[in-house]
Amino acid sequence: MSAEPGHEHGRHNAPPDPRLEKHHSPEQTQILEERVQKLEALLVAKGLVATETLEALASTYENDIGPMNGARVVARAWTDPAYKQRLLTNATVAIDELGISGLQGEHMVVVENTPSVHNVVVCTLCSCYPWPVLGLPPTWYKMAPYRSRAAIDPRGVLHEFGVDLPESVEVRVWDSSAEIRYMVLPERPQGTAHMSEQELAKLVTRDTMIGVARVEVKS
């Protein structure tokens, strides 16, 4: 890494941009609530949307689909070498083996973190994210700071997440610009040889499968 001023990756000193804070006042929220209520009523009247279906869909993504799905995939790969091989070769089929599939995960690729390679997933053009395994994305994944800097300065972004990697480790950024959805298979931490698949799944967080965190064993 160069020590030349202005080129020090991983030392991003700019504060968060207050224009991007995006908190709504109660008045702004009320305006949005009313606008959305009108649109929903119109779409229902036009026969495009049924209110009960909207409810069922939202509740599916609130309760049934989230990082616990991806965690099951990771724990299986850690404990079953043949499954891991299938996962890295054809992720969509291997994930489907665990009953996990569908919208925004129709074409999955899983990439493996090793002592020499660290993978990070981003969508610079919008906010593409592997819903079946990770659920709906967190706000930071959808906002300008991550989408812009994960591409050019992944080490700086990782530093902000508490992950510092030596230069000997290759950082691979995956920009989800098409309909392929990427998930990271994080490294299994040391000291977990005695753990069951279910116990291992509990260690795996959303951020480790995006590639911005390491799996840690809680002491």
């Binding site: 949005l32 009108k38 290759e170 920009d175 098409a178």
Partner: protein, 219 residues
Amino acid sequence: MNGVHDMGGMTCYGRVVREENEPRFHAHWERRVFGMTMLAIGRIDTLDAFRHAIERMDPTHYLSSTYYEHWLAALEILAVEKGLLTPEELASGALRSKGGATEPPLPPEAVRQVVAHGAPCDRNTGRLTPRFAPGDHVKAKNLNPVGHTRLPRYARGKVGVIDRVHGTFVYPDTNAHGSGEQPQPLYCVRFNALELWGPHAPRKDSLRVDLWEDYLEPA
């Protein structure tokens, strides 16, 4: 289009701000927008047209509004452009126009199946024989279309290597504009960080991005 949404490589947006224990939805209206967009968008236009509608938002509004405001704006834009609703109806919430869905809305009991099956974008029609193979050196063309594209600006004119061939996929550049799916081969292309970001980038680091065949030429 060369829009504000094409964020990869910008460094002006500050640090990544995270919210601990973030809820799936921050307000009731976000939940409704999520549900109604998921149910209605495929019946109004394509997902590619939806992404392009977000890209056509006023850039200052794009940057200063939240993710689900982007969805709301795009849904309203397309509903008007496709002749489903008028601006007056959106403002008043009162239905004036005739016409609407020719088929009944999706019933709640179909949600599970729709979510699990998704909407695959690979095709066995169109251009099926890939021009490039893994290991081939390719250059991303310097294209600046005014319409929708998934070729990020940071990759244009840069030389990379075909990492893998994903298959034949719906081409967003035409599908977003009502010109059909025109499926063609999609590749994962590996670029060295040095090639993309210049001599101060970490030597071993790399970025992979999925690019359609028409974005590429031999290098």
